[in-house]
Amino acid sequence: MSDIPANTAPAAAAISAPGFSVAPELLAIEGDMEYGEYLASECTACHQASGANNGIPAIIGWEPDDFVIAMHAYKQKHRDNPVMQMVTGRLANDEIAALAAYFNSLEP
């Protein structure tokens, strides 16, 4: 399991990770864009809002389902970066959905 996820097709890795899946109802939550923008300010301390990356992956423009799956993979400690496990550990399901909606709306 990689500590630092790849920059390209990042969520595909999460989706295909053996033994990990996300319940359909989590994917069905509609994210609140305004709340997502506020919550995203925690992410942009490290992940650049422009989509540039060096050492920390780009997270803008992802498909919301991919984003939600990746976040839950960290939250459930299926992925092993301790910063991401900590950050996602306190995100509620609706907050993950909000972030997914907001970051999806940003274009590189």
Partner: protein, 419 residues
């Protein structure tokens, strides 16, 4: 008289009087003044300007035209960075609608709600955000004061002091001694002094391998101690002598003229001496009357001062609870504050406070470690929720990934601060 930036920039007495007049204020956009353009202030100014989309007039008062980040200044000392790598200008903030004023704030009139400027005049606020960082406590280290900062640099506000300390390190005679007087808690960047020791050792190992490092520390233990001690043993065996509280590390005096350090009565001749004195909130917090002792107490929900509901204090200067005094913390606090201030002035939605911090430290090339935590606002303080720390004995691959992550973070947070 119409309120605009030109009247402010022309800091005549007439313009100042107009700016201070409540009637003019009532007709203009709500005004936020931010004092201090570091991790807290720059972030707050940028977020309020960006998210209010012109509804709020944001003025940032910052004396320096180029801001050198304290974070990564140790990597500059170790030769991993050049000074320009850690320097940032304010053009991005200006382009994003922040009125950037390069001046010193010299006082706050809380009744008139104005901030006085060293260059003359004053600027009015509806909400004032103070993010002045740290100043040093007078007399904290016997024999040292600001007049000695060239002989014995603190290098704990980055820039010329960092350049001076690096020049002194590089000019040390072979086999010489580099001394550090470490600060008592609480202080800016808890792992900072020990990352600095690591970076000095890294440089010496390559260029002056018989040189020694002597650390006088008033504390019995320090941030990431097991990780640093492991790294020092692995990479720099025999080079570093850390004298903690138990061995008199807190009973220290210096003589900048003689270049000596006296620890618990034992005098040592040194070639370089990095004195990091005890710290307190930057002076403007004191002048504004929002400090209680050395720091400015704030409410955990929004970083507002406990002394004045229209003043907010961010970052190192604040006394908020469990968060360490770090650039990451200040950046995190700034976003909570920006959301609350914008909500108060424009009626935008205010979301609950969420705080977080991560501090990366470099011990040796590609040997990075980190510590982090999340925090929540309680009635009493900002309280820790959860956290992690790198483990001793991690593989070199993990340590390298941690270092690379820190490089990414640096780019990310400086983009987040300065746009």
């Amino acid at each position: 008289m119409k309120l605009n930036r030109r009247t402010f920039l022309g800091t005549t007495a007439a313009a100042s009087a107009a700016l201070a007049a409540p009637m003019v204020m009532a007709q203009g956009r709500p005004r936020v003044v931010v004092v201090g353009g570091g991790a807290g202030g720059a972030t707050a100014a940028r977020y309020i300007a960006k998210d209010s989309k012109g509804e709020v007039d944001v003025t940032l008062i910052e004396p320096t035209r180029t801001y050198y980040t304290c974070f990564f200044s140790n990597l500059y000392l170790g030769g991993f960075k050049e000074i320009d790598d850690i320097g940032h200008t304010y053009g991005g903030l200006a382009a994003n609608g922040v009125n950037v004023v390069h001046d010193w704030a010299t006082g706050v009139d809380r009744d008139a709600k104005t901030v006085a400027l060293a260059g003359g005049g004053s600027v009015a606020y509806d909400k004032l955000i103070l993010s002045p960082g740290i100043d040093f406590v007078d007399g904290a280290v016997e024999g040292w004061d600001m007049s000695a900062q060239n002989a014995m640099p603190h290098a704990y506000k980055a820039g010329s002091q960092s350049e001076l300390l690096r020049a002194q390190l590089q000019a040390m005679p072979q086999g010489g001694t580099f001394a550090m007087v470490a600060p008592p808690n609480p202080y800016r960047c808890p792992p900072g002094p020990y990352e600095r020791v690591s970076m000095v050792a890294h440089w010496m190992k390559l260029n002056n391998p018989t040189a020694k490092i002597l650390v006088a520390d008033p504390k019995p233990k320090f941030s990431k101690m097991a990780l640093f001690e492991e790294g020092w043993n692995n990479h720099y065996a025999g080079m570093i002598d850390w004298v903690g509280e138990d061995f008199g590390g807190g009973v220290v005096s210096v003589d900048p003229a003689a270049m000596t350090v006296t620890i618990d009565g034992e005098v040592t001749n040194v070639d370089v001496c990095n004195v990091i004195p005890a710290m307190k909130a930057g002076r403007i917090a004191d002048l504004a009357g929002v400090t209680d002792g050395k720091w400015a107490p704030v409410n955990a929900a929004d970083m507002s001062s406990k002394a004045d509901a229209d003043i907010y204090v961010l970052g190192d200067a604040s006394q908020q609870g469990d968060m360490p005094k770090s650039g990451f913390s200040a950046n995190s606090q700034a976003k909570v504050c920006a959301n609350a201030v914008r909500g108060a002035l424009t009626g935008s939605k205010v979301f609950p406070a969420k705080y977080s911090n991560t501090c990366w430290s470099l011990i040796e090339a590609n040997d990075g470690v980190k510590v982090g935590a999340t925090y929540e606002a309680t009635e009493e303080k900002i309280a820790k929720v959860d956290g992690f720390i790198s483990q001793t004995g991690e593989t070199s691959a993990v340590r390298k990934a941690t270092y690379e992550e820190s490089e990414g973070w640096y780019t990310g947070i400086t983009s987040d601060m300065f746009g």
